[in-house]
């Protein structure tokens, strides 16, 4: 074994000098949230870096809905879940069909639709929210889960179509030609050739749409207002309405709310990084 040279030590020290601040910067807000979640009420506000008596009592209060702000916790969690799942499925169906149509079937006008979708992708979501709110009112969908589902599908599908179109352009044309020679119909090609080959991109896009919907705050808080109809992030925002908000419970609920997307993200990281960053910015 060789002793590290002075130069190696200096390089390592310099890297640590960057790495430690990066670690602290990343972790402090998350640790602070975690700290509140495991602190009893009196410890939470004392400014300690670790509670004297860490406890899971806050989680118990949340899971038993034992607080005014939490009385609809399960309903709201369920709403978030159903809406995210619906957005994921609908986005996948709509975007896969559109990408197949544009890329493989070369439908007339497909290029224009793709450009329109790309244009929608670049409209800042908060700008579209204002007219969208009024539109949903005109359609009579306000306070209905469908309003949020359809709004999120609208926002998620342009990017989905674009990424799936890029991915399907890479599949060789010969595959389709061979299938046609064998007498396959268009639908059979879609089901038996296209879908299996596109699986990695479909996983990435499905995950993207689900996370987008689960994390959405602005649209959810505009379109849904009834306590039993809102999603978890809106409920978290409502905590702020009171002066004496139970922060330790808010942070506990927030922690529970943040766990599923983080788990999904890490589980599908391989797909996300490959499928999404490749599509996100083409240099």
């Amino acid at each position: 074994m060789k002793l590290p040279s002075l130069r190696d030590v200096a390089t390592e020290a310099r890297l640590l000098l960057i790495g430690i601040p990066v670690f602290l910067w990343t972790m402090i807000p998350i640790y602070h949230m975690f700290l509140f979640a495991i602190s009893p009420k009196e410890d939470a506000f004392s400014g300690k870096l670790w509670p004297d008596h860490p406890t899971l009592h806050n989680f118990e209060i949340v899971f038993k809905q034992q607080h005014y702000f939490l009385r609809d916790f399960y309903a709201q969690f369920w709403n978030s879940l159903v809406i995210a799942a619906a957005v994921g499925v609908l986005t996948l169906v709509i975007a896969t069909a559109a990408a197949f149509s544009i890329s493989r079937l070369r439908v007339p006008g497909g290029r224009i639709v793709l450009n329109l979708a790309l244009f929608t992708y670049f409209i800042p979501a908060a700008f579209l929210a204002v007219p969208m709110y009024r539109t949903m009112g005109n359609y009579g969908l306000l306070n209905n889960h469908w309003s949020l589902i359809l709004a999120m599908v609208t926002i998620a599908s342009p990017y989905a179509i674009w990424v799936l179109k890029q991915a399907s352009d890479k599949l060789p044309v010969e595959l389709d030609e061979a299938a046609v020679m064998d007498g396959a119909t268009t639908l059979q090609i879609f089901r038996m050739v296209y879908l299996p080959l596109m699986m990695p991109s479909l996983v990435a896009i499905g995950t993207y749409a689900v996370l987008l919907a689960w994390n959405e705050y602005l649209y959810a808080f505009l379109l849904l207002s009834n306590d039993r109809e809102i999603t978890l992030p809106v409920a978290l925002g409502n905590f702020l309405a009171a002066d004496d908000s139970p922060w330790e419970l808010l942070m506990t609920t927030g922690f529970i709310y943040a766990l599923p997307p983080a788990a999904v993200y890490y589980a599908f990281r391989r797909y996300m990084v490959g499928g999404l960053t490749a599509g996100a910015v083409k240099s």
Binding site: I28, V273, V281
Partner: protein, 290 residues
């Protein structure tokens, strides 16, 4: 299955139904769901919104509203200063994370957390940290100096800076990740050759890294600017636009007008942003749809 339109153009047009092959009929059917969504939830709202914002009096009202002017300036600060700082840090960190070390690999897994978790709980967590009475920051200040800490979010400059900080915290991992992929695509032998020639750290960056990354970097910066225009959470959840409506950006201002039932003003404020947004969007579309 090579179905193209090129063959059709020379033939005199037969009736529509016989001109389309079965595959093209399927193409239209499969494209229809998205077109419906697009018409119902993009075209109709946008047209309706523009129609609502048609009266010139809206723009006079906006011009006379000091909150609008302030929000426009805040938005510019957010985009021009905030985003450029973020992208410079991302460029720097992409070099750091490209180093081959086990601990750096682990750190990069942790580093992605802000991007992986929803922004609402973490922004609220930061908001509580800076609470003047009970927040951990002022507790620490008090225990070290014996003085009460400042009322952080009550100063518009500090509050806006912190909103930018929260935005950077959230989206830095994403852009760093993209710049890392750009950096890893550079051929390593270029650096080895430069090493042999005795190039300095700066020369390697200036003559190898930057030339191969500048297109990606500029694309990322513009894209981030467009998206940040729609960043509602960082400002709304941290400052709520306060104190005294001094930290609004255009995205939160539109929602503020909406909540005050001034829908036409909300739309007009968005229309005012369009001369800046549309050129950026056009430029991005040219880049991405090549």
């Amino acid at each position: 299955m090579a179905i193209t339109l090129s063959g059709d153009q020379s033939i005199p047009a037969p009736p529509l139904s016989s001109r389309l092959t079965p595959a093209q009929v399927w193409g239209i059917v499969l494209l229809a769901p998205y077109l419906l969504v697009f018409l119902a939830f993009v075209v109709y709202p946008v047209c309706y919104g523009l129609w609502l914002a048609r009266a010139p009096s809206n723009y006079v009202a906006l011009y006379n509203d000091p909150i609008f002017a302030r929000a426009a300036v805040n938005t510019l600060i957010f985009l021009v200063i905030g985003i450029n700082i973020k992208m410079l840090i991302a460029l720097f960190l992409s070099g750091f994370f490209a180093q081959q070390r086990t601990w750096i690999k682990w750190l990069s897994v942790i580093f992605i957390l802000p991007w992986a978790v929803p922004s609402i709980p973490t922004i609220l967590s930061v908001r509580f940290m800076f609470n003047p009475e009970w927040g951990v920051i002022n507790h620490l200040i008090f225990s070290f100096t014996g003085d009460d800490g400042p009322n952080w979010l009550n100063d518009p400059t500090v509050a806006l800076t912190m909103a930018i900080g929260v935005h950077i915290w959230k989206s830095l991992p994403f852009w760093t990740l993209i710049l890392i992929t750009g950096r890893l695509a550079i051929a390593q032998d270029l650096f080895e050759a430069a090493e042999v020639d005795g190039a300095s750290w700066w020369q390697k960056f200036r003559f190898i890294t930057w030339p191969s990354m500048q297109t990606l970097y500029i694309t990322c910066t513009l894209l981030s600017m467009i998206w940040t225009l729609g960043d509602f959470n960082s400002v709304y959840l941290l400052t709520g636009g306060g104190p005294a409506d001094l930290t609004h950006v255009l995205s939160t201002l539109g929602i503020r007008y909406l909540r005050l039932d001034q829908l036409s003003l909300a739309m007009a404020s968005i229309v005012c942003a369009m001369p800046f947004v549309l050129p950026l969007v056009y430029f991005m579309m040219k880049r991405l749809s090549r």
